[in-house]
Symmetry: C2
Subunit: 233 residues, 2 copies
Amino acid sequence: MKKEPGSEREYLESYNHDQFKKMSVATDLLILTIEDDRLKVLMTKRSEYPFKGHWALPGVFVGMEETLEEAAVRGLKEEVNLENIYLEQLYTFGGVNRDPRLRVISVTYMALTPPEKLDFKAGNRVTEAKLIPVEEVIGGEIETAFDHREIIRYAKWRLKNKVEYTDIVFHFFPDMFTLPKLQKAYEIIAEKKVYKTNFRKKFMPVVTDTGLEDRSGGKRPSRYYCYRPEEKS
Amino acid sequence: MKKEPGSEREYLESYNHDQFKKMSVATDLLILTIEDDRLKVLMTKRSEYPFKGHWALPGVFVGMEETLEEAAVRGLKEEVNLENIYLEQLYTFGGVNRDPRLRVISVTYMALTPPEKLDFKAGNRVTEAKLIPVEEVIGGEIETAFDHREIIRYAKWRLKNKVEYTDIVFHFFPDMFTLPKLQKAYEIIAEKKVYKTNFRKKFMPVVTDTGLEDRSGGKRPSRYYCYRPEEKS
DNA sequence: ACAATAGTGTCTGTGAGACAGTATCGA
DNA sequence: TCGATACTGTCTCACAGACACTATTGT
Protein backbone atom coordinates (compact mmCIF):
# COMPACT_ATOMS: atom_id res chain seq x y z
CA MET A 1 0.00 0.00 0.00
CA LYS A 2 1.36 3.32 -1.10
CA LYS A 3 2.11 5.93 1.47
CA GLU A 4 1.79 9.63 0.95
CA PRO A 5 4.38 11.33 3.08
CA GLY A 6 2.88 13.70 5.61
CA SER A 7 -0.60 12.35 5.07
CA GLU A 8 -3.10 11.70 7.79
CA ARG A 9 -2.83 7.97 7.17
CA GLU A 10 0.89 7.88 7.73
CA TYR A 11 0.40 9.63 11.02
CA LEU A 12 -2.25 7.27 12.26
CA GLU A 13 0.01 4.37 11.49
CA SER A 14 3.06 5.89 13.08
CA TYR A 15 1.17 6.21 16.32
CA ASN A 16 0.17 2.57 16.32
CA HIS A 17 3.61 1.42 17.30
CA ASP A 18 3.63 -1.43 19.70
CA GLN A 19 5.40 0.87 22.10
CA PHE A 20 2.28 2.85 22.75
CA LYS A 21 -0.21 0.03 22.81
CA LYS A 22 -0.08 -1.42 26.22
CA MET A 23 -0.39 1.60 28.42
CA SER A 24 -3.56 2.00 30.40
CA VAL A 25 -4.91 5.09 32.05
CA ALA A 26 -6.78 4.96 35.32
CA THR A 27 -8.13 7.44 37.80
CA ASP A 28 -7.51 6.66 41.44
CA LEU A 29 -9.67 8.36 44.02
CA LEU A 30 -8.62 9.88 47.29
CA ILE A 31 -11.88 10.10 49.16
CA LEU A 32 -10.99 12.01 52.30
CA THR A 33 -13.06 12.78 55.32
CA ILE A 34 -12.73 13.63 58.98
CA GLU A 35 -14.10 11.15 61.48
CA ASP A 36 -13.34 10.81 65.19
CA ASP A 37 -10.94 13.74 64.97
CA ARG A 38 -8.76 12.05 62.39
CA LEU A 39 -8.21 12.52 58.69
CA LYS A 40 -9.24 9.32 56.97
CA VAL A 41 -9.09 7.96 53.47
CA LEU A 42 -11.37 5.38 51.92
CA MET A 43 -9.57 2.21 50.91
CA THR A 44 -10.62 -1.15 49.60
CA LYS A 45 -9.15 -4.50 50.48
CA ARG A 46 -7.84 -6.28 47.45
CA SER A 47 -9.32 -9.71 46.95
CA GLU A 48 -7.14 -10.60 43.99
CA TYR A 49 -3.54 -10.68 42.91
CA PRO A 50 -1.39 -8.70 43.03
CA PHE A 51 -1.27 -7.29 46.55
CA LYS A 52 -4.03 -9.63 47.61
CA GLY A 53 -5.19 -8.66 51.07
CA HIS A 54 -3.54 -5.27 50.93
CA TRP A 55 -5.40 -2.00 50.99
CA ALA A 56 -5.75 0.10 47.86
CA LEU A 57 -7.37 3.30 46.74
CA PRO A 58 -10.56 2.86 44.74
CA GLY A 59 -10.13 3.56 41.07
CA VAL A 60 -11.44 2.92 37.61
CA PHE A 61 -9.93 2.66 34.20
CA VAL A 62 -10.64 5.56 31.92
CA GLY A 63 -12.91 4.58 29.08
CA MET A 64 -12.37 5.69 25.52
CA GLU A 65 -15.45 7.88 25.52
CA GLU A 66 -15.11 9.67 28.80
CA THR A 67 -12.87 12.44 30.05
CA LEU A 68 -10.61 11.98 33.07
CA GLU A 69 -12.99 13.87 35.29
CA GLU A 70 -15.96 11.92 34.01
CA ALA A 71 -14.13 8.74 34.92
CA ALA A 72 -13.48 10.09 38.41
CA VAL A 73 -17.13 11.03 38.83
CA ARG A 74 -18.17 7.61 37.63
CA GLY A 75 -15.79 6.00 40.08
CA LEU A 76 -17.25 8.00 42.92
CA LYS A 77 -20.71 6.93 41.95
CA GLU A 78 -19.83 3.27 41.52
CA GLU A 79 -17.61 2.83 44.53
CA VAL A 80 -19.24 4.96 47.18
CA ASN A 81 -22.51 6.07 45.60
CA LEU A 82 -21.44 9.65 45.96
CA GLU A 83 -22.44 12.61 43.81
CA ASN A 84 -22.01 16.35 43.78
CA ILE A 85 -19.03 16.56 46.05
CA TYR A 86 -15.84 18.52 45.88
CA LEU A 87 -13.42 16.97 43.41
CA GLU A 88 -10.06 18.17 42.21
CA GLN A 89 -7.29 16.66 40.17
CA LEU A 90 -4.35 15.93 42.44
CA TYR A 91 -1.39 14.60 40.48
CA THR A 92 -0.53 12.05 37.84
CA PHE A 93 1.65 9.11 38.77
CA GLY A 94 3.45 7.30 36.01
CA GLY A 95 6.17 5.15 37.50
CA VAL A 96 7.18 2.28 35.25
CA ASN A 97 6.50 -0.52 37.69
CA ARG A 98 3.65 0.90 39.71
CA ASP A 99 1.55 -2.07 38.73
CA PRO A 100 3.40 -5.34 38.15
CA ARG A 101 0.84 -6.50 35.63
CA LEU A 102 0.92 -3.75 33.08
CA ARG A 103 1.87 -0.15 32.65
CA VAL A 104 -0.76 2.04 34.28
CA ILE A 105 -0.75 5.81 34.33
CA SER A 106 -2.82 6.94 37.27
CA VAL A 107 -4.46 10.35 37.25
CA THR A 108 -5.45 10.88 40.86
CA TYR A 109 -8.41 12.92 42.04
CA MET A 110 -9.05 14.15 45.54
CA ALA A 111 -12.62 14.16 46.84
CA LEU A 112 -13.62 15.74 50.13
CA THR A 113 -16.82 14.91 51.94
CA PRO A 114 -18.42 14.74 55.36
CA PRO A 115 -18.42 11.13 56.57
CA GLU A 116 -22.23 11.00 56.70
CA LYS A 117 -22.49 11.14 52.93
CA LEU A 118 -20.33 8.07 52.46
CA ASP A 119 -22.24 4.95 51.63
CA PHE A 120 -19.71 2.30 50.81
CA LYS A 121 -21.44 -0.56 52.51
CA ALA A 122 -24.41 -0.48 50.19
CA GLY A 123 -24.11 -0.75 46.44
CA ASN A 124 -23.15 -3.76 44.46
CA ARG A 125 -19.58 -3.99 45.57
CA VAL A 126 -18.19 -7.21 46.91
CA THR A 127 -14.84 -6.00 48.09
CA GLU A 128 -14.38 -4.76 51.60
CA ALA A 129 -14.01 -1.00 52.01
CA LYS A 130 -13.38 1.20 54.98
CA LEU A 131 -12.07 4.51 56.18
CA ILE A 132 -8.48 4.31 57.33
CA PRO A 133 -6.65 7.08 59.16
CA VAL A 134 -4.03 8.50 56.83
CA GLU A 135 -1.51 8.48 59.64
CA GLU A 136 -1.77 4.72 59.86
CA VAL A 137 -1.22 4.37 56.14
CA ILE A 138 1.75 6.70 56.08
CA GLY A 139 3.16 5.23 59.25
CA GLY A 140 3.25 1.81 57.62
CA GLU A 141 0.78 0.16 59.96
CA ILE A 142 -1.43 -0.68 57.01
CA GLU A 143 -0.35 -2.97 54.23
CA THR A 144 -0.80 -0.78 51.19
CA ALA A 145 -0.95 -1.84 47.57
CA PHE A 146 0.99 -0.36 44.64
CA ASP A 147 2.37 3.13 45.24
CA HIS A 148 -0.76 4.20 47.03
CA ARG A 149 1.07 5.08 50.21
CA GLU A 150 3.04 7.68 48.30
CA ILE A 151 -0.11 9.02 46.71
CA ILE A 152 -1.78 9.38 50.09
CA ARG A 153 1.24 11.12 51.53
CA TYR A 154 1.14 13.58 48.67
CA ALA A 155 -2.58 14.21 49.12
CA LYS A 156 -2.09 14.91 52.80
CA TRP A 157 0.68 17.36 52.00
CA ARG A 158 -1.40 19.18 49.40
CA LEU A 159 -4.37 19.38 51.73
CA LYS A 160 -2.22 20.75 54.52
CA ASN A 161 -0.97 23.51 52.25
CA LYS A 162 -4.32 24.42 50.76
CA VAL A 163 -6.22 24.54 54.02
CA GLU A 164 -4.38 27.69 55.06
CA TYR A 165 -5.13 29.84 52.05
CA THR A 166 -8.41 28.45 50.72
CA ASP A 167 -11.81 27.45 52.05
CA ILE A 168 -11.51 23.70 51.55
CA VAL A 169 -12.20 22.90 55.20
CA PHE A 170 -15.87 23.53 54.55
CA HIS A 171 -16.06 20.59 52.17
CA PHE A 172 -15.64 18.23 55.11
CA PHE A 173 -18.96 19.40 56.53
CA PRO A 174 -22.61 19.34 55.53
CA ASP A 175 -24.59 22.54 55.04
CA MET A 176 -24.57 23.34 58.73
CA PHE A 177 -21.72 23.08 61.20
CA THR A 178 -20.40 24.66 64.37
CA LEU A 179 -17.27 26.75 64.49
CA PRO A 180 -15.57 24.62 67.17
CA LYS A 181 -15.92 21.55 64.97
CA LEU A 182 -14.74 23.46 61.94
CA GLN A 183 -11.73 24.65 63.87
CA LYS A 184 -10.93 21.15 65.04
CA ALA A 185 -10.97 19.90 61.44
CA TYR A 186 -8.77 22.79 60.41
CA GLU A 187 -6.25 21.96 63.10
CA ILE A 188 -6.14 18.30 62.12
CA ILE A 189 -5.44 19.11 58.50
CA ALA A 190 -3.04 21.98 59.14
CA GLU A 191 -1.35 19.94 61.87
CA LYS A 192 -1.17 22.84 64.26
CA LYS A 193 -3.22 24.53 66.95
CA VAL A 194 -4.81 27.88 66.27
CA TYR A 195 -6.40 30.37 68.62
CA LYS A 196 -10.17 30.54 68.68
CA THR A 197 -10.14 34.28 68.26
CA ASN A 198 -7.97 34.30 65.18
CA PHE A 199 -9.75 31.35 63.61
CA ARG A 200 -13.07 33.10 63.98
CA LYS A 201 -11.75 36.38 62.68
CA LYS A 202 -10.53 34.53 59.62
CA PHE A 203 -13.71 32.64 58.79
CA MET A 204 -16.49 34.83 60.17
CA PRO A 205 -16.64 36.85 56.95
CA VAL A 206 -17.60 33.80 54.90
CA VAL A 207 -20.13 32.16 57.20
CA THR A 208 -23.56 33.16 58.37
CA ASP A 209 -25.31 32.42 61.62
CA THR A 210 -28.36 30.16 61.33
CA GLY A 211 -29.66 30.93 64.82
CA LEU A 212 -29.82 27.18 65.52
CA GLU A 213 -27.83 25.61 68.31
CA ASP A 214 -26.04 22.36 68.84
CA ARG A 215 -27.11 21.20 72.31
CA SER A 216 -25.49 17.78 72.07
CA GLY A 217 -22.31 18.83 73.81
CA GLY A 218 -23.61 18.82 77.36
CA LYS A 219 -22.00 22.17 78.08
CA ARG A 220 -22.73 25.52 76.53
CA PRO A 221 -24.28 24.96 73.10
CA SER A 222 -22.50 26.18 70.00
CA ARG A 223 -24.23 27.89 67.13
CA TYR A 224 -24.72 26.40 63.71
CA TYR A 225 -23.35 28.29 60.77
CA CYS A 226 -23.65 28.00 57.00
CA TYR A 227 -20.95 28.53 54.43
CA ARG A 228 -21.35 31.71 52.38
CA PRO A 229 -25.10 31.82 51.92
CA GLU A 230 -24.65 35.58 51.81
CA GLU A 231 -22.21 36.19 49.01
CA LYS A 232 -21.63 39.89 48.86
CA SER A 233 -23.14 41.52 45.79
CA MET B 1 -7.98 -22.85 28.02
CA LYS B 2 -8.98 -23.22 31.60
CA LYS B 3 -9.23 -20.21 33.77
CA GLU B 4 -8.57 -20.11 37.44
CA PRO B 5 -10.81 -17.48 38.98
CA GLY B 6 -8.87 -14.75 40.71
CA SER B 7 -5.62 -15.78 39.15
CA GLU B 8 -3.02 -13.47 37.80
CA ARG B 9 -3.73 -14.70 34.30
CA GLU B 10 -7.40 -13.82 34.42
CA TYR B 11 -6.47 -10.32 35.50
CA LEU B 12 -4.02 -9.76 32.73
CA GLU B 13 -6.63 -10.83 30.23
CA SER B 14 -9.37 -8.71 31.70
CA TYR B 15 -7.23 -5.64 31.28
CA ASN B 16 -6.64 -6.36 27.62
CA HIS B 17 -10.10 -5.23 26.63
CA ASP B 18 -10.20 -3.35 23.41
CA GLN B 19 -11.53 -0.43 25.37
CA PHE B 20 -8.18 0.24 26.95
CA LYS B 21 -5.98 -0.44 23.98
CA LYS B 22 -5.96 2.67 21.93
CA MET B 23 -5.17 5.32 24.46
CA SER B 24 -1.82 7.04 24.22
CA VAL B 25 -0.04 9.05 26.85
CA ALA B 26 2.07 12.05 26.00
CA THR B 27 3.85 14.77 27.88
CA ASP B 28 3.50 18.28 26.53
CA LEU B 29 6.03 20.85 27.58
CA LEU B 30 5.42 24.43 28.57
CA ILE B 31 8.83 25.97 28.21
CA LEU B 32 8.40 29.44 29.60
CA THR B 33 10.80 32.32 29.68
CA ILE B 34 10.87 36.08 29.89
CA GLU B 35 12.20 37.98 26.91
CA ASP B 36 11.75 41.63 25.98
CA ASP B 37 9.63 42.16 29.08
CA ARG B 38 7.06 39.58 28.06
CA LEU B 39 6.25 36.07 29.23
CA LYS B 40 6.81 33.76 26.28
CA VAL B 41 6.22 30.10 25.57
CA LEU B 42 8.10 27.93 23.14
CA MET B 43 5.91 26.58 20.35
CA THR B 44 6.51 24.63 17.20
CA LYS B 45 4.82 25.07 13.87
CA ARG B 46 3.08 21.93 12.78
CA SER B 47 4.18 20.69 9.39
CA GLU B 48 1.67 17.86 9.23
CA TYR B 49 -2.00 17.16 9.66
CA PRO B 50 -3.94 17.83 11.73
CA PHE B 51 -3.64 21.55 12.47
CA LYS B 52 -1.02 21.91 9.77
CA GLY B 53 0.54 25.35 10.01
CA HIS B 54 -0.80 25.98 13.50
CA TRP B 55 1.39 26.38 16.54
CA ALA B 56 1.64 23.63 19.12
CA LEU B 57 3.48 22.92 22.32
CA PRO B 58 6.43 20.57 21.98
CA GLY B 59 5.74 17.12 23.35
CA VAL B 60 6.70 13.49 23.21
CA PHE B 61 4.87 10.25 23.67
CA VAL B 62 5.66 8.41 26.86
CA GLY B 63 7.59 5.24 26.19
CA MET B 64 6.87 1.98 27.97
CA GLU B 65 10.13 2.05 29.85
CA GLU B 66 10.25 5.61 31.05
CA THR B 67 8.40 7.51 33.73
CA LEU B 68 6.40 10.62 32.96
CA GLU B 69 9.11 12.88 34.23
CA GLU B 70 11.76 11.01 32.30
CA ALA B 71 9.71 11.54 29.16
CA ALA B 72 9.50 15.25 29.95
CA VAL B 73 13.25 15.45 30.49
CA ARG B 74 13.84 13.60 27.25
CA GLY B 75 11.52 15.99 25.45
CA LEU B 76 13.42 18.97 26.81
CA LYS B 77 16.66 17.48 25.63
CA GLU B 78 15.39 16.55 22.19
CA GLU B 79 13.40 19.66 21.42
CA VAL B 80 15.47 22.43 22.92
CA ASN B 81 18.68 20.73 24.01
CA LEU B 82 17.99 21.78 27.57
CA GLU B 83 19.09 20.04 30.75
CA ASN B 84 19.02 20.68 34.47
CA ILE B 85 16.29 23.25 34.49
CA TYR B 86 13.29 23.73 36.73
CA LEU B 87 10.53 21.31 35.83
CA GLU B 88 7.20 20.67 37.48
CA GLN B 89 4.13 18.70 36.58
CA LEU B 90 1.35 21.10 35.70
CA TYR B 91 -1.88 19.25 35.00
CA THR B 92 -3.21 16.32 33.03
CA PHE B 93 -5.58 16.98 30.18
CA GLY B 94 -7.79 14.16 29.03
CA GLY B 95 -10.57 15.52 26.88
CA VAL B 96 -12.04 12.93 24.54
CA ASN B 97 -11.43 14.79 21.31
CA ARG B 98 -8.31 16.73 22.12
CA ASP B 99 -6.61 15.05 19.20
CA PRO B 100 -8.81 14.11 16.24
CA ARG B 101 -6.57 11.18 15.33
CA LEU B 102 -6.61 9.14 18.49
CA ARG B 103 -7.22 9.44 22.18
CA VAL B 104 -4.26 11.15 23.82
CA ILE B 105 -3.90 11.82 27.50
CA SER B 106 -1.49 14.69 27.92
CA VAL B 107 0.47 15.07 31.13
CA THR B 108 1.81 18.60 30.95
CA TYR B 109 5.04 19.80 32.49
CA MET B 110 6.10 23.37 33.04
CA ALA B 111 9.75 24.28 32.53
CA LEU B 112 11.18 27.67 33.43
CA THR B 113 14.44 28.98 32.05
CA PRO B 114 16.31 32.14 31.16
CA PRO B 115 16.07 32.73 27.41
CA GLU B 116 19.84 32.44 26.93
CA LYS B 117 19.79 28.73 27.71
CA LEU B 118 17.30 27.99 24.96
CA ASP B 119 18.82 26.48 21.89
CA PHE B 120 15.98 25.49 19.63
CA LYS B 121 17.60 26.52 16.39
CA ALA B 122 20.35 23.96 16.64
CA GLY B 123 19.72 20.27 17.07
CA ASN B 124 18.29 17.92 14.54
CA ARG B 125 14.79 19.33 14.42
CA VAL B 126 13.22 20.22 11.13
CA THR B 127 10.10 21.92 12.37
CA GLU B 128 10.07 25.61 13.01
CA ALA B 129 10.11 26.67 16.63
CA LYS B 130 9.96 30.03 18.33
CA LEU B 131 9.08 31.89 21.48
CA ILE B 132 5.60 33.35 21.37
CA PRO B 133 4.20 35.79 23.93
CA VAL B 134 1.54 33.99 25.94
CA GLU B 135 -0.72 37.01 25.64
CA GLU B 136 -0.82 36.58 21.88
CA VAL B 137 -1.71 32.91 22.24
CA ILE B 138 -4.42 33.55 24.77
CA GLY B 139 -5.70 36.55 22.87
CA GLY B 140 -6.27 34.39 19.82
CA GLU B 141 -3.77 36.17 17.59
CA ILE B 142 -1.91 32.91 17.10
CA GLU B 143 -3.46 29.90 15.42
CA THR B 144 -3.07 27.26 18.07
CA ALA B 145 -3.32 23.50 17.67
CA PHE B 146 -5.36 21.07 19.79
CA ASP B 147 -6.33 22.40 23.22
CA HIS B 148 -2.96 24.01 23.70
CA ARG B 149 -4.42 27.46 24.15
CA GLU B 150 -6.27 26.22 27.21
CA ILE B 151 -3.14 24.57 28.54
CA ILE B 152 -1.17 27.77 28.16
CA ARG B 153 -3.89 29.79 29.85
CA TYR B 154 -3.79 27.38 32.78
CA ALA B 155 0.00 27.56 33.01
CA LYS B 156 -0.11 31.33 33.08
CA TRP B 157 -2.70 31.24 35.85
CA ARG B 158 -0.67 28.78 37.91
CA LEU B 159 2.50 30.78 37.48
CA LYS B 160 0.74 33.96 38.50
CA ASN B 161 -0.42 32.32 41.71
CA LYS B 162 2.86 30.67 42.60
CA VAL B 163 5.03 33.70 41.99
CA GLU B 164 3.59 35.42 45.05
CA TYR B 165 4.28 32.75 47.61
CA THR B 166 7.27 30.87 46.21
CA ASP B 167 10.66 31.69 44.73
CA ILE B 168 9.97 30.60 41.16
CA VAL B 169 10.92 33.99 39.69
CA PHE B 170 14.54 33.06 40.15
CA HIS B 171 14.24 30.22 37.65
CA PHE B 172 13.87 32.76 34.85
CA PHE B 173 17.39 34.00 35.50
CA PRO B 174 20.91 32.61 35.33
CA ASP B 175 23.14 32.46 38.40
CA MET B 176 23.52 36.21 38.56
CA PHE B 177 20.90 38.89 38.08
CA THR B 178 20.03 42.39 39.19
CA LEU B 179 17.12 43.18 41.45
CA PRO B 180 15.49 45.64 39.03
CA LYS B 181 15.34 42.92 36.38
CA LEU B 182 14.08 40.40 38.87
CA GLN B 183 11.37 42.80 39.95
CA LYS B 184 10.35 43.45 36.36
CA ALA B 185 9.95 39.72 35.76
CA TYR B 186 7.95 39.41 38.96
CA GLU B 187 5.62 42.18 37.86
CA ILE B 188 5.07 40.63 34.46
CA ILE B 189 4.13 37.27 35.94
CA ALA B 190 2.08 38.62 38.83
CA GLU B 191 0.44 41.13 36.49
CA LYS B 192 0.79 43.99 38.93
CA LYS B 193 3.20 46.71 39.94
CA VAL B 194 5.03 46.45 43.23
CA TYR B 195 7.05 48.98 45.13
CA LYS B 196 10.82 48.67 45.00
CA THR B 197 11.11 48.89 48.75
CA ASN B 198 8.67 46.09 49.46
CA PHE B 199 10.00 43.88 46.72
CA ARG B 200 13.50 44.18 48.10
CA LYS B 201 12.37 43.60 51.66
CA LYS B 202 10.74 40.41 50.46
CA PHE B 203 13.64 38.95 48.50
CA MET B 204 16.72 40.39 50.19
CA PRO B 205 16.78 37.54 52.74
CA VAL B 206 17.24 34.92 50.02
CA VAL B 207 19.82 36.63 47.82
CA THR B 208 23.41 37.57 48.35
CA ASP B 209 25.38 40.47 46.91
CA THR B 210 28.16 39.48 44.52
CA GLY B 211 29.81 42.90 44.56
CA LEU B 212 29.71 42.95 40.76
CA GLU B 213 27.83 45.63 38.89
CA ASP B 214 25.78 45.81 35.74
CA ARG B 215 27.06 48.88 33.92
CA SER B 216 25.14 48.25 30.72
CA GLY B 217 22.23 50.47 31.68
CA GLY B 218 23.88 53.80 30.96
CA LYS B 219 22.65 55.25 34.22
CA ARG B 220 23.53 54.19 37.74
CA PRO B 221 24.70 50.57 37.67
CA SER B 222 22.76 47.94 39.57
CA ARG B 223 24.38 45.23 41.60
CA TYR B 224 24.39 41.58 40.68
CA TYR B 225 22.96 39.15 43.16
CA CYS B 226 22.89 35.38 43.51
CA TYR B 227 20.03 33.24 44.69
CA ARG B 228 20.56 31.75 48.16
CA PRO B 229 24.24 30.89 48.04
CA GLU B 230 24.18 31.50 51.76
CA GLU B 231 21.58 29.10 53.09
CA LYS B 232 21.44 29.62 56.80
CA SER B 233 22.78 26.71 58.78
C1' DA C 1 -21.19 27.04 93.00
C1' DC C 2 -18.37 24.73 89.72
C1' DA C 3 -16.38 22.62 85.70
C1' DA C 4 -16.37 22.72 80.95
C1' DT C 5 -17.16 24.53 76.66
C1' DA C 6 -18.56 28.74 73.63
C1' DG C 7 -17.61 33.10 72.45
C1' DT C 8 -15.47 38.33 72.74
C1' DG C 9 -12.04 42.49 73.37
C1' DT C 10 -7.78 44.01 72.77
C1' DC C 11 -2.67 44.31 72.83
C1' DT C 12 1.39 43.12 70.02
C1' DG C 13 4.33 41.99 66.21
C1' DT C 14 5.14 41.11 61.42
C1' DG C 15 5.02 42.22 56.87
C1' DA C 16 3.01 44.49 52.78
C1' DG C 17 1.57 49.08 50.79
C1' DA C 18 2.79 53.78 50.05
C1' DC C 19 5.81 57.52 49.40
C1' DA C 20 9.59 60.69 50.27
C1' DG C 21 14.23 60.91 50.29
C1' DT C 22 19.42 59.84 49.04
C1' DA C 23 23.14 57.85 45.83
C1' DT C 24 25.47 57.12 41.49
C1' DC C 25 25.96 56.93 36.80
C1' DG C 26 26.34 59.39 31.64
C1' DA C 27 25.86 63.46 29.04
C1' DT D 1 24.02 70.51 36.49
C1' DC D 2 20.49 67.49 35.06
C1' DG D 3 17.86 63.48 33.96
C1' DA D 4 17.46 58.86 34.82
C1' DT D 5 18.00 54.87 37.26
C1' DA D 6 19.44 52.44 41.72
C1' DC D 7 18.75 52.15 46.34
C1' DT D 8 17.09 53.41 51.49
C1' DG D 9 14.21 55.08 55.63
C1' DT D 10 10.03 55.13 57.62
C1' DC D 11 5.01 55.76 58.28
C1' DT D 12 0.61 53.34 57.96
C1' DC D 13 -2.44 49.68 57.94
C1' DA D 14 -4.28 44.98 57.69
C1' DC D 15 -3.98 40.76 59.84
C1' DA D 16 -2.30 36.80 62.50
C1' DG D 17 -0.55 35.49 67.17
C1' DA D 18 -1.34 35.67 71.98
C1' DC D 19 -3.96 35.98 76.08
C1' DA D 20 -7.29 37.61 79.35
C1' DC D 21 -11.93 38.14 79.83
C1' DT D 22 -17.24 37.15 79.70
C1' DA D 23 -21.27 33.90 78.68
C1' DT D 24 -24.03 29.72 78.88
C1' DT D 25 -24.86 25.15 79.62
C1' DG D 26 -25.31 20.50 82.93
C1' DT D 27 -24.51 18.62 87.40
